[in-house]
Symmetry: C2
Subunit: 312 residues, 2 copies
């Protein structure tokens, strides 16, 4: 097993599990001029052009002071992300503001960027903070109401729980485990083209699917490959995991051995599934295959294919 | 890595991912006299005493026919679990009925049992079906209302999604990934006593905690051990996974190497955390330690401790 640090992992913050239970500390930290706020507008993140002389990075997260955030009519409380040393970091949803860049009157080196695109250009630590921020704000956006009784709920503990004022139910952020797997039969591996985005761009990737309730990781790997490709899987080996904040998946990457080889695709979910020889997969990873395209190194699928290609 | 089949894994049903998208097929299957229903009453499961001559098991799931279920005023649609061959299996919440055993007039070999106790006495395949049933019914119970807009939602696809009639939002069952880990420092391992149940019964177990949003499995292992015990962890190795339907956790079991050894416990979450020598852990697994109690083989913690004890 490789303890590889994927894009969106590597968040350096101390999540402050004990401090966030203290409302007085949280309120003081939210006002502290040394605290920093990361604004997100409709799930796009504020980026600042990097200072290439100082930090070698082309982009970084656009942290603002509490005073700058107070200039905006944000209407939602900040979400406490954690600490760098003793300085608190918050994510702030500014979606209620129509034109936050104009209202903040920020220099032109600031802009709001799609979070997936930002993940590709940010340093690893910033991408990790972005993953946490985006998942948490997306969860609040979709969980304004108590699922038990339908009453509007309110965030507590710096946004790490929502509490219903009517029935008292506590609701915690959700993280959806996904099994993603490269299945091999000797010198060839099984890659698929899901209906939708992958089919439109002509890319093949590892098969994947949400882990069901009452199912182990290994069972989910076998079920998904059976459903999507009609192939039976024997031994399953864990490789590595990646948080994927669209909106809040935990990608659990595995390798597995095929027991059968005939492919029978699920015509609803999949546009195509095929066996690819190792040499072709190697060329595709390098971007040198004439027709086969596979995901880039931002995606765990790339590293699962690479680990299999390199094991020979 | 061992592909161990833990209690609550090993569900033999074909979950029928394609068929459950067909409302006509589902409606026919729900009435089909060959279909079987598993009643659950307030999250307790119907058990039947096993036929020791036939199947060697002391207990089995209490499957009933559609006609028996129709005798009850259940008020909730069944949840489609999957197929055995071409016969459909459903879970049926009968919580609205005050005394279902009386109303069903079942023989005395049937009873409703706590699901955790049932997991200890059922054959592995039945415990797997119980895990799926309990998690799915518990999810419906706590998700009657749309979390986006607060309107009462309705189940679809045999209970695998709930749809909001007001805003159209789709809500899927949640599965909460939990990192659970045995951390070692040479010939001793780190076990803890969480405040609450474990402290009351004087048991030590593997440390564990929910994986946060924007976090890999390996990051969660390190964070939880830091928070609960003040110990820093280096290398992390995946071992196995277990569905834990209370209400819908996915336990992701790991081993890890300690980088530091001084313990500083989280006094809110933990009653105690200690290093235990390998010999003491071995005795405790066998139930032969004078004072140290550890979880039994139903729990993944038992197998994580055993794998570490046996690696020497």
């Amino acid at each position: 097993m490789t303890d590889i640090v994927h894009t969106f992992a590597g968040n350096p913050l101390d999540r402050g599990d004990a401090l966030r239970r203290d409302p007085d500390w949280l309120a003081a930290a939210a006002r502290d001029p040394d605290s920093c706020y990361l604004p997100m507008w409709r799930l796009n993140v504020l980026l600042e052009d990097g200072d290439a002389y100082r930090d070698n990075d082309t982009h970084r997260l656009g942290w603002l002071s509490p005073a700058r955030i107070q200039e905006l009519d944000v209407r939602t409380p900040p979400v406490f992300l954690g600490l760098v040393g003793d300085r608190a970091r918050f994510a702030q949803d500014v979606s209620a503001v129509e034109e936050p860049l104009r209202d903040l009157d920020l220099p032109s080196r600031f802009r709001f960027e799609d979070s997936r695109a930002a993940g590709m250009v940010l340093p690893a630590t910033d991408a990790g903070i972005l993953a946490q921020s985006r998942s948490q704000l997306a969860w609040h956006e979709r969980h304004q109401f108590c699922s038990v009784c339908g009453t509007r709920s309110a965030p507590a503990r710096g946004g790490h729980v929502r509490v219903c004022p009517n029935c008292g139910a506590q609701h915690f952020p959700r993280t959806d485990p996904v099994a993603i797997m490269v299945i091999s039969d000797g010198d060839r591996c099984l890659l698929g083209q899901a209906a939708g985005r992958l089919a439109r761009i002509g890319m093949y990737s590892a098969l994947a699917g949400f882990i069901d309730q009452g199912e182990s990781i290994e069972e989910a790997v076998r079920r998904e490959v059976r459903e999507e490709a009609g192939v039976e899987v024997g031994d399953v080996r864990y490789h590595s995991s990646q948080p994927w904040p669209f909106p809040s998946s935990l990608m659990i990457g595995c390798h597995g051995d095929a027991l059968t080889t005939d492919i029978r695709i699920d015509p609803v979910e999949m546009a195509d599934v095929r066996w690819f020889p190792r040499d072709e997969a190697r060329l595709a990873l390098a971007g040198e295959h004439a027709t086969l395209k596979v995901p880039g190194p931002m995606a765990i699928a790339h590293h699962l294919i690479r680990a299999w290609v390199d094991e020979s």
